[in-house]
Assembly symmetry: C2
Homo-oligomer: 356 residues x 2
């Protein structure tokens, strides 16, 4: 492969000048830059990332950590992040924790990330105190997405989960429901993942505001997945008289609920209304009413916050020219979370209760 010396020789300049010209540094004359670019083009030169990183101390790489890339929210976030990083000349190193403790340890507790990436985007990854400590020690800039994940000093992009659940519940109240159940993620989870706790709070707040005391027998915990929704709903139905409506903590649980209701011979929404939170790709196909949250926007914004602390998005004149990421020491205080708006989307899964 051609190296920087080859380009330097062909262009008749030093390797230092080639390096500067290719990275778009201002201290190169236009004529020289032209010659260097032409030579690089002619030789099909591409800088060696390893050498560049070792010499320059920056990796041009961002780690993106998600629980499960196959879930709607995380896939959508990663897609948006990837596009922004790609356009900014950054590489994206993907870590899909997938519930594997060993992977968690390797990603969060090894110095390996420190020398591997310039910055981290942590999506809805529950953190123990020790995890937070380890991440802080990395002294890398980072951004978290979702309320469940907080690292001191890192900006956070998220929605207002309490409000989202409140709106979902109020929609059912407005339709005339009073026996409203709630199915949600498992708080026995040893990890401090708070998203479903916030959503439960919103559900309860809306009920109380309507003068209805939350009924514990209508609040079932299960996993935050389709199967979790199915199981929670089955459990709910086993407890006796079914509710007339269900608030699911996410669309995937809502889909599971729909399945369980259908299997039990109950019609949605005639017998039971169901509302989720997310606006999953398939919510429309299922006719699912939901609270839409902007997943791609959260990813995009997180990436932007990470790379453009000054609002300046550097153009990448050549592969290898990369803007510096937000410095870890820019600000020691944890920034105020950026909260994106949610929106009620009414489809066919919610209707007035029959007695109404």
């Amino acid at each position: 492969m051609t190296r920087i010396d080859d380009v330097a020789r062909l262009a008749g300049v030093s390797t230092a000048t080639v390096s500067r010209a290719l990275r778009g540094l201002p201290t190169v004359s236009a004529a020289t830059r032209r010659r260097v670019l032409a030579a690089a083009e002619q030789l099909q030169y591409a800088v060696s990332p390893s050498a560049s990183r070792l010499a320059g101390g920056r990796t041009g790489t961002v780690a993106v950590v998600v629980p499960r890339i196959t879930r709607w929210f995380f896939g959508t976030v990663v897609e948006a992040v990837e596009e922004f990083l790609q356009d900014s000349g950054y590489d994206l190193l993907l870590y899909n924790l997938g519930g594997r403790e060993q992977t968690r340890q390797r990603v969060l507790h090894t110095a390996s990330l420190h020398k591997r990436v310039d910055a981290i985007i942590l999506v809805a990854t529950p953190l123990r105190a020790a995890d937070v400590h380890a991440l802080t020690k990395l002294e890398l800039p980072g951004v978290t997405i979702s309320s469940g994940t907080k690292v001191p000093g890192w900006p956070c992009v998220r929605i207002d989960d309490v409000a989202a659940a409140r709106t979902a519940t109020r929609h059912l109240l407005d339709l005339g429901h009073t026996r409203i159940a709630h199915i949600s993620g498992d708080p026995d989870d040893e990890l401090a993942f708070t998203t479903h706790l916030d959503r439960r709070r919103g559900y309860q707040e809306a009920l109380r505001a309507a003068g209805i005391g939350p009924d514990p027998s209508l609040d079932v915990e299960s996993r935050f997945t389709i199967d979790g929704g199915t199981q929670a709903t089955a459990e709910l139905l086993a407890r006796g008289e079914p509710p007339t409506a269900i608030v699911a903590a996410c669309d995937e649980m809502a889909m599971g609920a729909i399945t369980a209701l259908r299997d039990a011979g109950l019609r949605v929404p005639q017998d039971v209304s169901v509302i989720g939170i997310d606006d999953h790709d398939l919510a429309g196909v299922l006719g699912l009413s939901t609270i839409a949250q902007p997943a791609a926007e959260q990813g995009l914004l997180a990436a932007r916050i990470l790379l453009d602390p000054l609002g300046v998005r550097a153009a990448a004149p050549h592969p290898g020219a990369v803007p510096a990421p937000r410095g870890a020491d820019t600000d020691d205080r944890t920034p105020t979370p950026v909260i994106l708006p949610t929106r009620l989307v009414v489809r066919e899964s919610t209707a007035p209760p029959r007695a109404h």
Copy 2:
């Protein structure tokens, strides 16, 4: 950060020995290795990937290229690949092409990949002749997944798309359908993506084997997505008497078809049966009959083929110890594709036609 010299000093050996011990090379005495590991542990040493890559010539990184990580098949494949790579000590660089031509160019036509990764996994990425040429010139080992993507010398993992569509169609024929429509991806796509062509062939073969000539007015092309399925079905219905059954080229198109049928006041399966291909996560929720294909297995197998050419899966005794990937020059001929089995899954979206 601690460097290799720090470890060497603490362990009382040379940096060369530290390097060997940490990577698990056999030419180190047990006692020395113990001391080195203890020193590394004590200093929380992690090797610098940049330095290691520059000196060693290997990156310990695999590029995974997918069209859209948010689609079921690609997300599932990436998740499986990520787990295997992670366990093997490899980093995963994600490229989500997302229909962006600029990204295609950068990924496929820059030498940048060459110096950035040791190997490539290309998932269902349509390739022009120039793309194939560029990839071949990289002289990197690679594996493709899905029939639409072929690179000379690279193994391919896929299903038999013709057979899958044939089985789907035969299922409908067995139920007594004869007016069977087909909705599929767009062949006007300038890229040589053949998956939907193969599936159309299977559809036609099954009809012909049943003595039915394929009716072009029952074969509609659209995009390979939910919306594509909706549009194709709407178009189909606009053409006149509806079919009694639809074979969709993938589950996402089938879901779109179900939406369109519902919107047109037609019931599934009473008025129209629908079958897909994939066994998407949500196929069960929708009661969609389909031909299941093993997505995670294809990803896992591709990763394994790439990293374990000799069936030897090297353990990674320390982060940084990484088995050598399959050499590009191991075999100049293109290996026989590995074809994984598919399976008919009958749910509620298919039934005998009403007249039957």
